[in-house]
Amino acid sequence: MAELTYREAIAAAIAQEMTRDERVVFLGEDIAGAGGVFKTTVGLLDKFGAERVRNTPISEQAILGAAMGAAMTGLRPIAEIMFSDFFAVCWDIIANEIAKVRYMTNGQITVPLVVRTANGGGSRFGAQHSQSVENWAMAVPGLKVVAPSNPADAFGLLAAAIRDPDPVIFFEHKSLYATKGEVPDDEHVDIIGTAKVLRDGTDVTILALAAMVPKALEAAERLALEDGLSAMVVDVRSLVPLDTQTILATVQKTGRLVTVEENPRLCGWGAEIASIVADECFHDLDGPIVRITTPHIPLPSADNLEDATLPNVERIVATIRARID
């Protein structure tokens, strides 16, 4: 085991896979010599050379189009889109082309690519560079959607994404890049489509994703200490494929469900899961499903405004206190 930061884990996972498979190539803006604006790809140019680690112009559509063309002709590209907000610029390639080409061609074309991006708020970048848009990707059939919350998961799930024969949109959280965690030393690959129970409990199930996971864990600790409430915390990790079985099992055990979502209110990822639970676990529910989300507004930039707008530990604790009896 080694202690790595989340960003180091990303670089290490890419390195592991590029070593293992020479079809893996990597393109994006400022990813080569600069090692990425978030320093997530430091060292890769030196290790693998300019043929495999390529800087691109500011051309989001061309970056993803090139990744798709390469993926459909024998390579395994990783494309970086610097800020997930920029998906809006190249959404055609993601939603209309990459996601649909296999289905439309009746299976003739397969697209084994990974699109990595820095997602989420908390860094004071303002509304156009702070969004959480994994729910956009969840809504398009044909895309796998992953959002790790810690370095070990970032490593293992990125390796899995690179090995996956289908398109995977990999949402790294920019506010988690500096966080540290233990990562296995040897070759390591996780399984996409599996959620993880991080904390066992009996009174309520809290589902969280990415940067909301550490907040949910902290809230659970406080609720245990101050209220004697036993909360189960589940890191969803993968929105598509969704580990529905694990989620339903935890709700059957506790009878209550709370989601903590960074997405703005409407159509956040938790809304879909709440609907599934209400349908398939209705008779196990001891009370309404509660969603804790960012309000349905663009994100403000000032420190205190942003901190109050995104779900924070205080708000998670207060809400659960008020709604779980």
Binding site: F38, V42, G122, K174, Y177, L285, D286, D325
Partner: protein
């Protein structure tokens, strides 16, 4: 003024002081190189913002601190006001002063309605919610409350409230209320007619006497009249299927199999009618076992929803109390119900080889209430005659082996 650790790069949270270029007591000029900071692999030179004298250094070379931490103080003439500078600005989570105007997390109406899981548990275990005290918001009954109740078991079914003088006012429990509603509705729906036969249980008794000891040893419970009657009813039903039906508007829906409900009294606290499905396919031994099993589970409150639904005919047994005759109320939507009353020794006329004689026989009345919308008296009478014949002449010993 304070010299603080700058944020060099987005998402960088800390920095290391590599080199101080000024010592305490030294004069510093604005824009002059003051110190060097290292973050990851980048080292950056930081110039001084003000001119003045270096007063104090708090963070030594080689130390790593969070962004915003005070590193040193330069006296630029504004020292007094800066001496009590605020602590380093960290990204603390804000207090919950902001609550969104959007109707969201905290704005749920409180009420005492039963949650889905509570309703499921109450139904499964045949409990009424009023039996359980609620510990949730607004005293609602929670899942935990039901689970605790089930574990401890017992408890009052109805609350007895003294009204001052010697009269007792006993509010109807939910179960009582439901029974009351059902009974009145049944009487209003069906055209009840009572018809009875006397049955001589002599042969049944003979078989019971022979088999009783081995039966009890093997099965662990007594062989009563009930399984025999149930068997006879099922057999007779094959010839009189219209009694195994229900009325649907202007039609009679006749069931293929007999789903026999057996009324079980719960210590004077209520009635349950567990159902033996496809009773016509069972032997008398199987029937006896089923009846015993149902009654036990009914008393232990261990019946599931399937056990309480789908009946096509009902047996109501008051026999153990030695009643003469009962006019039972039909369980809707069935078309008939059979009451089994006390079996007692009576003097009767027995026709033997020497003509008519007086004999002592165990005689019991079977009384059927039938719905005259669906059935006529002759049909019902013939059915009862058949039951009587089966009970009085069937080779019960053979059936019990």
């Amino acid at each position: 003024m304070d010299v603080v650790m700058p944020q060099l790069g987005e998402t960088v949270a800390e920095g290391t002081v590599m080199v101080w270029h000024k010592k305490v007591g030294e004069q510093v000029e604005a824009d002059e190189l003051l110190f060097e900071v290292g973050t990851d692999k980048v080292e950056t030179e930081i110039p001084s913002v003000v001119s003045g004298i270096m007063v104090e250094i708090f963070v030594a070379e080689g130390e790593t601190v969070d962004v915003g931490t005070r590193l040193a103080i330069i006296d630029d003439g504004n020292l007094v006001t800066n001496r009590s500078a605020p602590k380093a600005i960290k990204n603390k989570t804000a207090k919950v002063a902001f609550v969104s105007a959007e109707r969201m997390e905290n704005s749920a109406p409180r009420d005492k309605s039963l949650s889905p899981v509570v309703r499921k548990l109450l139904s499964e275990h045949g409990i009424d919610a009023s039996e359980i005290s609620g510990s949730g918001d607004s005293q609602r009954v929670t899942r935990r409350d039901v689970m605790s109740y089930l574990e401890t078991r017992g408890g009052d079914v109805s609350q007895i409230v003294s009204a001052g003088d010697l009269t007792q006012v006993i509010p109807f429990s939910r179960h009582r209320r439901l029974t009351a509603e059902h009974m009145v509705r049944s009487k209003a729906t069906s055209a009840h007619v009572l018809q009875a036969v006397e049955v001589d249980f002599y042969h049944v008794d003979k078989a019971r006497d022979v088999k009783q000891i081995s039966w009890q040893a093997k099965e662990g419970f007594t062989l009563t009249y009930l399984p025999f009657i149930a068997k006879a009813v099922c057999q007779a039903m094959s010839e009189f299927p219209h009694l195994n039906s229900h009325v649907d508007g202007d039609s009679l829906v006749v069931h293929a199999n007999v789903h026999l409900a057996i009324a079980v009294d719960l210590n004077f606290e209520g009635l349950l009618t567990p159902v033996i499905h496809n009773a016509n396919l069972k032997t008398i031994t199987e029937l006896a076992r089923s009846i015993h099993d149902m009654a036990t589970r009914a008393r232990d409150r261990k019946l599931g929803p399937d056990d309480l639904s789908g009946a096509s005919y009902t047996l109501s047994n008051s026999g153990s109390f030695g009643t003469l005759i009962t006019a039972p109320i039909i369980s809707q939507p069935q078309v008939a119900i059979l009451s089994i009353d006390g079996v007692t020794k009576k003097p009767v006329v027995v026709t033997g080889a020497n003509g008519d004689e007086i004999g002592i026989r165990p005689i019991g009345i079977l009384a059927q209430s039938f719905d005259h919308r669906a059935i006529d008296g002759a049909y019902s009478a013939a059915f009862l005659r058949k039951i009587k014949a089966i009970l009085e002449t069937q080779d019960w010993l053979a059936e019990l082996t």
